[in-house]
Symmetry: D2
Amino acid sequence: MPEPKQMLNVAMIGHGFIGKVHSNAFHQVGHFFPTPYQPRLKIICGRNRAKLEAVASQWGWEEVSTDWRAIVERKDIQVVDIAVPNALHAPIAMAAAAAGKIVLCEKPLATSRDEAERMATAVRHLPNLVWFNYRRVPAVAFAKTLLNEGRVGQIFHYRALYLNQSGNDPAKTSGWRYQRAIAGSGAMGDLLSHAVDLALDLNGKITGLIAMTQTFAPARDVDDAVVMMARFANGSIGSFEASRFAAGSRNRNSFEINGSLGMLRFNLENLNWLEFFDATEPANLQGIRNLLVTGPNHPYAENFWKPGHVIGYEHTFIATLGDFLGTLGRKETFHPNFDDALAVQRVLDAAERSAESKSWVRLDR
Amino acid sequence: MPEPKQMLNVAMIGHGFIGKVHSNAFHQVGHFFPTPYQPRLKIICGRNRAKLEAVASQWGWEEVSTDWRAIVERKDIQVVDIAVPNALHAPIAMAAAAAGKIVLCEKPLATSRDEAERMATAVRHLPNLVWFNYRRVPAVAFAKTLLNEGRVGQIFHYRALYLNQSGNDPAKTSGWRYQRAIAGSGAMGDLLSHAVDLALDLNGKITGLIAMTQTFAPARDVDDAVVMMARFANGSIGSFEASRFAAGSRNRNSFEINGSLGMLRFNLENLNWLEFFDATEPANLQGIRNLLVTGPNHPYAENFWKPGHVIGYEHTFIATLGDFLGTLGRKETFHPNFDDALAVQRVLDAAERSAESKSWVRLDR
Amino acid sequence: MPEPKQMLNVAMIGHGFIGKVHSNAFHQVGHFFPTPYQPRLKIICGRNRAKLEAVASQWGWEEVSTDWRAIVERKDIQVVDIAVPNALHAPIAMAAAAAGKIVLCEKPLATSRDEAERMATAVRHLPNLVWFNYRRVPAVAFAKTLLNEGRVGQIFHYRALYLNQSGNDPAKTSGWRYQRAIAGSGAMGDLLSHAVDLALDLNGKITGLIAMTQTFAPARDVDDAVVMMARFANGSIGSFEASRFAAGSRNRNSFEINGSLGMLRFNLENLNWLEFFDATEPANLQGIRNLLVTGPNHPYAENFWKPGHVIGYEHTFIATLGDFLGTLGRKETFHPNFDDALAVQRVLDAAERSAESKSWVRLDR
Amino acid sequence: MPEPKQMLNVAMIGHGFIGKVHSNAFHQVGHFFPTPYQPRLKIICGRNRAKLEAVASQWGWEEVSTDWRAIVERKDIQVVDIAVPNALHAPIAMAAAAAGKIVLCEKPLATSRDEAERMATAVRHLPNLVWFNYRRVPAVAFAKTLLNEGRVGQIFHYRALYLNQSGNDPAKTSGWRYQRAIAGSGAMGDLLSHAVDLALDLNGKITGLIAMTQTFAPARDVDDAVVMMARFANGSIGSFEASRFAAGSRNRNSFEINGSLGMLRFNLENLNWLEFFDATEPANLQGIRNLLVTGPNHPYAENFWKPGHVIGYEHTFIATLGDFLGTLGRKETFHPNFDDALAVQRVLDAAERSAESKSWVRLDR
């Protein structure tokens, strides 16, 4: 038998949909990633005791609590995982950092750039992670591999969409995601943040941008849609669009990258696939090819099932956590961390200022 | 100015849908193919004088006639084009051959194998053509090129469908295509014949087969659907299916070829595209690629528009005629000709016998 | 807190790829399905102790053993799960049945029809399951819903493929799946069995069939490919093809159903999607629509994530187990069980006999 | 026989690729559109006599000339068709208008807004047309029908791309399209103009915009790419992108329209298809459906072939001309005409100014 793993006691604050996704990742990570650490679902924290107990029972959390402040300071907790509405990220993360915990936080990191700056500063000396899970979609990670290998050449265009139709459905729009006081923003923090994180990871820094936002629903105080143009440090130009009013899109987090040697395209609605166009082939054999990124020789193919056997949404969280625990064991810095999420927040902040001032905004770093 | 072209006076027998398609090809071939011959739309022949005159006027036929027997023997006619219901192919083709004409005939060649044998014998000394136009879809011709280059390797599977939903629509089913006395068969001659012609052209001889047929519509005396399994001389195995009861298919003439080195797939509903899978790529870059077969370096790309500019259904007839006139100038044998269509008819005949006897049938040649 | 669940001690025989998939299902079922039973990963059994201990450690099996006969008779075991090569299914299942266990078995049930008959008889008085997991793909289950609602009308065609390219890869072909003594058959038991199970479930009984098989690889004693035509009791006609030599296909378990009112199409490589064509729409709005079957109002959408969040291969096993435990609690008969798998085996047996005799075979029940 | 058609003598200035496309349209329009006029290919004009004669011979132009000024004033010419590089559009159109001719002109109308204003004024009293041919793609026209019927509801997003990879190919970049003095602009006039014309036609006026342009190729004085954000008078927001550096795109003129009741999507690379999403369907049956827009009850389906038989690029020119001749007969105003093209030019002009000033530009009309 292999050496026993070191247990990491986790306190998760939040018990909604995303809390279930995190619970699953804590359970599953050891089955797929050979890490020296085993998360233990120690305590789950929230405000509604009935729901809390139901979730705890379903997912095997050992304790429940309605007082996150007390929990965050408990000596037996090593990891604080923040899975609550955006406005609560900062106070919990600051408290957890003050208590010296490993801090995991949902995206977007904060409701403002200032908040994000303070949070990033607070956790910088501690292992930390932000759940920009889509970096670990195997197809996205493979896109990065191909970019790094130079298979796409010099990049000319980065084109990103994150579209759904949630806002167009009156039944769905009463939640916290549609209130500025809690969410900070609408499609921007919810959707554009993911698109920007992937862009920064895959295509590097944004040096300037201009955005426009639109609220279609009457009496809503967050943006329903945002369109953005950007320039990247590598000389390429970018276009971004995020919307909750895009009928026909369920969860369309997509990007397309055009370079001198090829093209890459991804859509989260078909997350096991990556499209690749190789412009170095003979002209009559050039075509967009559809790669089923389940191995062999694809990212995470060894962790999950066999080639040809697809994975789902939840596996991107498992892979994020698996990689994080790996860096923890090797005492390396994990990405995306609070600093990476701060970089995203700076872009969102610039986009908001740009939409207000109707002018280009430079990003100095 | 280049040398004037030699005029070929054409008599077309038939004035229905396919007659218009042929008329178009006679008009257009000189615009796209540099042949020494220019078809002249001399006379169009049919039974309904009002319709005949309308079609003649629309398409520029110089004369009309209701007596094909007289026309076929006219000295000033060099080409007889047969575009009438199947049961009339044989008498017209035999008469035209007897009169020494160049004979062009719609598919399926005949309503029986015996008829087809006699027809092929009759025209063998004359230039002749059967309108199995789909061989000249650029994507299909390019598939053949790739097969010939060995890009697919040893063939294991040939899989063909020709599906539409016409028979399922009561409004469409009163025509001659649904009557055995005129059509000879149903989906078999109408649809399977095309699939078999492509199979023979792309994958070589069929050595044996077993088929089943089904008539779904009450009181109809032709097959609505046929399914067939076959063995090819090259060691591969084939499956075929033709149906007029396939809701969701408009004109799905498709094939897929799996070999030791790759795969090719085509669907007439997307006729400008060919799918190609290259199994010699590194494993993690293998994917089905979608080739837009409009050039450069694709068949007929120089004849029609520029790369990226798609062609339509009618161009397959123009290309067929263009190639035919080219072979005429060079005194070469054109394919597909009556002998090729006879080979198809032998397969259809075997399929019918097989469906009746419920047993495998060998094809000796 | 809800009532504690009743534990079911599981002994799993086998520790290969599929054993991991089962282990995962035992772990996960309680997180997604509100069943009264909680599987406990009690003991895992296999022949290679080193591998066994590694798998046990990774997946949390409490004990390991190399003697399945002893395990199967242990009083503290309620469930025996059979995840070993095909030839071992029968002895283990018979022993487990004799010991009165709940028996779960991988597919294909057996290496012969006789074996399958004995096994089905042996377990008929016990709760039992065969892992034909693809019935529980949400898209497949939703197809069944639509069929039951009459949305496709009278069925004319059932067309199934299960294609991969594994056999074409010399590196993969030394395993037990390529040896008749252990596997019973090749593509037939491995792939066609799944296609037949779905066909029987979705389209009802097969009354007759004819098949051909082919072995492309030299010196291999199982079929590499099988093609089959069939007639169903409901008057529709079927075509089936299974192959390990279909370059371009990774795990293409697909079906298409054409009826008088519409069409349904599925491909396991895109398992979150179902294609649907509604022939009752106005003609100019009829088109194949692509349904992302992640809710709302799709099968299992409440069990897994939110609409727009895709699931993977493993969830089909979780759903199978979840439904099984539900029927166990309600003392109902689960499907697919050994009798359902026996029905599949009868079809495979008929197909083998048909391929040998080169003739149609009737299926009386 | 029907009444003889009235001949319209056409003088075409230009003999390049697009001149062939126009020649084809003049030939073919009478075969597909029952108009009272028959264009006669009277004279073709250009600078290279050898090429001119070759094109004249191939396409049946009766005369050739290298002096467009003389031709334009010929009494026997009724129609002047301008198919030359952009900088020549204005002088020829002004001269033709002065001579009272019917004027047809390639897009973009002009190399500047001022030029376009003068041209539109000059021809306003004469029948005139600009070859924004993509309005007559049946799928595009059908999209307009569905929009007009309210099937998409209130529009939220208009998203357009026109991408190709021509600029990325050094072999293609020496032509006039890459020189500001002749072309006026790069991707903007060549590609974005088409996208803007469709947007104005389908979604109405643009009230404001901001654009950025980029030249990737060294020593080129036109834009290689343009990205643009816009606001429409109907309250929707738009994003546009045109590029010659988008590897993987051959001729991707696409749009997507998201509204309160549905979605429409089109891509010129699959021009026979239109994607439609109907948000009024029951939630579990909502999916993007792919409509093969070849009839029945689709625009131009009666003019060309039968349902299921696809058309190509050239048919959009034939349909444009067919509709134009129809309006001529009925003495109606045709669209798109010079005024429509002027509206496009105003948007392009605003986009250029915006890209220079890096600021939003209002469009007052």
